[in-house]
Symmetry: C2
Subunit: 293 residues, 2 copies
């Protein structure tokens, strides 16, 4: 059985940009202008898909629940209205993270896919990192894959993509690219300075892209927040795990715009006899009691 | 639910060695003396567990099926007899790859765990790479975990560990270390020269170790065979993905002995609120029809 030999790609080369912008929880509107400028520059560079960081509308380190509530936004809301306008003005698809106030009365770390003025997908982070448990509710679906005007775009948020299954979900659903808004807190131990100066998160992105032969575009943030430094590890990785743009690891992290052309999207073959998805032996892998469908 | 907080570790620090030895399908007995010397040197360096490459008894590039049959060995056979003697003489546990002739009339790329003179486990490679399909039958189980005199040792072979589930299987079964015999053919494209000069396989080992917080000890081979060069990418990675020894990537690959102490074995926590295994959301991950237990 081979379910992914035929992939519907609008353009065989997809130009993708990741905008690493500064965010500050104490000055959240600052991101609006940074994002507007970055999207304009990315569009001028010919990007068809532009990825922005996690929670770029709000910042990350909330003082308390009240602050988280005050900065989170509904969808639609001011933040998605800005993204809609930018996508229309520049004729691009945008994937961006936000602190989302759900109509169910809960907060989510979400990612929206905006195409031609419309929010065509909302994904809610399914794996919460550390203190996020205090503010956010975890989403209840695997990686979202949306058919857009420029191809099949998958999205998941930050810690999500450290789980190989979330990357596999994108590949199994024939996504052309996985767009991942992240906020990577700086690691100062040996895990933060592996070859290339890469933190372990970057190695995971490289490996998981190659595991399932799917390009991954990660937009990280820069800027300090209440004593925490962020990595600025934005990277665009091809389906073979080779970095096409970034990461540019400097301290402190700086604004950056990465642009790269993705080729061979949808090709999951590894050799004449090997295929990243159909070589799997799911009948053999461990399944816990809570893992049965 | 947290099934792995308590781990039975005989010694809180486990000294592991990976012996990167030359192998040649045209001179298969050459490996016997190289292995004897390497095990002796590793034991002198205080290693309790010694990992050897894949198919070190036979070489890799068979001319045809007859040659594969003539070089493969039964278990027990001359190769495991040598390993048994070495494990007894030096008081060490050895994990080594071999071309195995099964009593079922099939050939396997296998890995044996030898402890105090006994072969206490035989694993058969479950994911076959490229031309291996011509000679070998795939095994029918996930990563093997064996209780040995020096701790819980997991083993899988080469391409197996590129599948995150195989590494997860070792972690779920509370292995202290995953010992992986490999034969990595040299990659000459961009996938072969990522940061650190690392091929993509090394990035996968680093990432998958960190994914599931389990140390991985990879023994690769050196030596040319019928026009193919091997990577010599042996590496010992800690549970946080940090390389503790190797890889020493040079061309041509050279014999090497890596020795490292593994600490924190069995600690799968990532933060006060995060745990590599219990943070998984298996209820959300894609399950194909052939994947149901």
């Amino acid at each position: 059985m081979n379910t992914v030999d035929v992939v519907d790609v609008v353009d065989p080369v997809l130009r993708v940009a990741c905008a690493q912008v500064p965010v500050d929880v104490e000055h959240p509107r600052m991101a609006y202008s940074a994002v507007s400028e970055a999207v304009s520059a990315a569009a001028q560079a010919g990007a068809a898909l532009i990825v922005l960081p996690e929670m770029v509308n709000s910042g990350y380190h909330f003082a308390d629940t009240d602050e988280a509530w005050s900065l989170a936004e509904l969808v639609p809301g001011p933040w998605t209205t800005l993204l809609s306008r930018l996508s229309t003005d520049h004729g691009v698809v945008i994937v961006a993270g936000l602190a989302e106030r759900g109509t169910d009365g809960k907060l989510y770390s979400a990612s929206v896919v905006v195409d031609a003025g419309d929010t065509v997908g909302v994904f809610r982070k399914a794996h919460l990192w550390d203190a996020e448990h205090r503010y956010f509710t975890a989403g209840e679906r695997a990686t979202l894959v949306v058919e857009t005007s420029i191809g099949r775009v998958a999205t998941a948020v930050c810690y999500d993509i450290e789980f190989p299954e979330m990357v596999r979900a994108a590949a199994e659903e024939q996504a052309d690219v996985l767009a991942a808004p992240v906020n990577w807190p700086l690691r100062t131990g040996p895990e933060g300075a592996l070859p290339g100066g890469w933190p372990i998160e970057v190695h995971k992105v490289v490996a998981h892209a190659a595991d399932y032969r799917i390009p991954i575009a990660v937009a990280d943030r820069c800027g300090h927040e209440r004593g925490e430094e962020f990595t600025g590890g934005s990277i665009i990785v091809g389906h073979d795990g080779v970095p096409l743009a970034g990461p540019h690891i400097v301290r402190p992290a700086r604004p950056a715009l990465l642009v790269a052309d993705l080729g061979n999207v949808g090709d999951r073959r590894l050799s004449d006899h090997n295929h990243a998805l159909t070589d799997r032996r799911p009948d053999l892998y461990p399944v816990r009691a809570d893992e049965q469908p």
